[in-house]
């Protein structure tokens, strides 16, 4: 029986066998390229961005022409930044600012939910810089000795906001309305930093006057999906497939033309703190710490502020 199954496996994979003909499991390349992430949101950069805040771009033409684009060589000068997905919208501007401030340096972002990035790193993924949207994950990686000691620094912060599709199909005008029957709400899973913040905000609201337990259970039963990243929540709202989504304020500010927002009062809001750190295993620590310097510099902070992040 077992032999029969093995043989059927063999037959089913006849073409694979044909290609690899007898080679054992291919040795995994030591440096797996970080998945390139789509900077699609970049096209919708808010007009409020102050372009003049950046020095005039002096593109490193010489480097670009002399070397045939070694994108993933991890050579000094290339920074692979594992970055919380909520920075998706601002990431192209950050890259531009960094590459302007340090001509010759380049940064490539791997944008995903911090919980996913953390798992990738714990399973051996290579990166130079880690930007976390949650102190809990930062602490976990710090304990695991993944960071260069002393490089773990608070980067920025973000509040939670409720966004609605532009045409507001459910006619939501207040946070109370989220409890109306039939309202469809998207949130991030509690493993995602913004999901933790959302849970905290809903909990805080439930405890405050005018909401209460009933509101809490109605809102919870209106949740139709627990997404695995913050942009995934925003995407469902933008498509109009849900009536409301809990995201970060930065997402609303970067996409004001796409959403309507119901703000959450600061008193019951949850401030999620982002951190940045240089990885212990980085082979380009110089460029990595340059990137950190840029992110914490007035330039970097201004870009984040323009995109709705709350300065520390």
């Amino acid at each position: 029986m077992i032999i029969g199954i093995v043989i059927s496996l063999l037959l089913a994979t006849a073409c694979i066998a044909g290609c690899t003909s007898g080679t054992p499991a291919p040795a995994t390349t030591s440096a797996t390229p970080a998945p390139a992430t789509s900077p699609a949101v970049a096209e919708t950069a808010p007009p409020t961005l102050i372009e003049t805040a950046l020095p005039t771009p002096a593109a490193p033409e010489a480097k670009a022409t002399s070397t045939p684009k070694p994108v993933y060589t991890y050579s000094e000068g290339n920074v692979v930044a594992y970055t919380a997905a909520s920075l998706s919208g601002v990431s192209p501007k950050l890259a531009e600012g960094f590459e302007t401030m340090y001509p010759g340096h380049k940064v490539v972002f791997n944008l995903a939910g911090t919980q996913a990035l953390k798992t990738q790193v714990q399973n051996g993924a290579y990166c130079d810089v880690f930007i976390s949207a949650s102190n809990a994950y930062t602490n976990e990686l710090t304990k695991g000795n993944y960071f260069v000691p002393g490089t773990v620094k608070p980067l920025t912060s973000n509040y939670v906001i409720v966004i609605l599709p532009k045409n507001n199909p459910a006619g939501i005008t207040s946070l109370s309305d989220l409890a109306k029957p039939g309202v469809k709400i998207a949130v991030a899973d509690k493993s995602v930093p913004v999901g933790t913040a959302t849970t905290a905000v809903i909990g805080n609201l439930a405890k405050s006057a005018g909401y209460g337990k009933e509101w809490n259970s109605s809102v919870t039963s209106n949740i139709v999906t627990y997404e695995t990243s913050e942009p995934a929540v925003a995407g469902k709202v933008e498509l109009g497939e849900v009536d409301a989504g809990f995201v970060y304020e930065s997402t609303y500010i970067a996409g004001k033309d796409k959403y309507v927002a119901i703000s959450v009062p600061r008193a019951v809001n949850y401030l999620q703190t982002y951190t940045i750190a240089v990885m212990k295993d980085s082979t380009s620590k110089g460029a990595a710490s340059d990137f950190e310097t840029f992110m914490l510099s007035a330039n970097g902070q201004q870009i984040l502020k323009d995109y709705g992040f709350s300065p520390l």
Binding site: I5, A25, P169, K184, K236, L239, V242
Partner: protein
């Protein structure tokens, strides 16, 4: 020059033998080792402990019921479709053949996006369902629709080719003896193709059970409602490693049983001694 003059015959055979063993081993190990690694990473205690987790139970229950419903619909609609399709000549038949095979090669994420764009409440058709107050996206119905979309070709292909290859003289005989076309189909064609149909059905069930990409995009990820086992594995890997591991192992076991079932069902009739 004869090769046997270089290497003695017994060594030549030995080399050939070694080469064959190496080939079989390397291919088998490459495919089986990752699956085996899942079992090495857990302990029976951890496995049993997380097996009783409500998240695992609800994902398992949801996956099995939705896959079963998907399969039921595919058989119910797919069998007559495949029969009619294989027994008739009509313009555009090649196109239909191609279109129903498309989900086999289409990335499931694209399938999910397409389903959302059609049935989502802003979608081409979904907007009318919304007026009728029928939500589709982000419901269990969406899970089933995604599964049918990606998994039905496995059954349809199998059924089509079985009906095409079926020796029609049996059918003709039945008809000349006065049986109605329906009776002929139910008493002659169906029983004689049943083995192959069931193996196609089992493959469809397996594909439906493993469906991930279209589901997470079209049906969302809500425990108990749309969070099937593959989605729970995905979330588990990022938040609760042991849960992810346990569900993965469950899926491996189920997939293995499916393959065994297919092998038994497609085994050619044992000739009489």
């Amino acid at each position: 020059m004869k090769p046997s003059s270089l290497i003695p015959e017994q060594y030549r055979r030995l080399l050939l033998y070694a080469g064959a063993v190496f080939l079989v081993l390397s291919v088998t190990l490459y495919l089986a080792l990752p699956v085996a690694a899942l079992f090495f990473r857990t302990t029976p205690e951890l496995f049993w402990a997380s097996l009783s987790d409500p998240l695992v139970i609800s994902a398992l229950w949801l996956s099995l019921t939705t896959s079963a419903i998907s399969l039921f619909i595919v058989i119910l609609v797919g069998t007559p479709f495949a029969y009619v399709h294989s027994r008739s000549v009509y313009p555009g038949k090649v196109l239909v053949d191609t279109l129903i095979d498309l989900p086999l090669v289409l990335p499931p994420a694209v399938a999910g996006f397409a389903l959302l764009v059609l049935y989502g409440r802003m979608g081409l058709i979904g907007q009318y369902f919304r007026m009728l107050g029928i939500p589709i996206a982000f419901t269990t119905l969406a899970v089933i629709m995604a599964q049918i979309f990606v998994a039905s070709p496995f059954y349809l292909r199998q059924a089509k080719s079985l009906f095409e290859q079926f020796d029609r003289s049996y059918e003709h005989t039945a008809r000349t003896l006065g049986a109605t076309p329906l009776r002929t189909f139910l008493t002659i064609t169906l029983p004689l193709t049943a083995g192959g149909l069931v193996s196609g059905a089992v493959m469809t069930f397996g594909r439906a059970l493993g469906e991930f990409g279209a589901t997470i995009m079209f049906a969302g990820n809500l425990p108990g409602v749309t969070q099937t086992m593959p989605l729970a594995v995905y979330v588990g890997m990022e938040s609760n490693f042991n849960l992810g591991l346990t569900i993965s192992i469950l899926l491996v076991i189920i997939s293995f049983l499916i393959m065994i079932a297919v092998r038994i069902l497609t085994k050619p009739e044992v000739p009489h001694a």
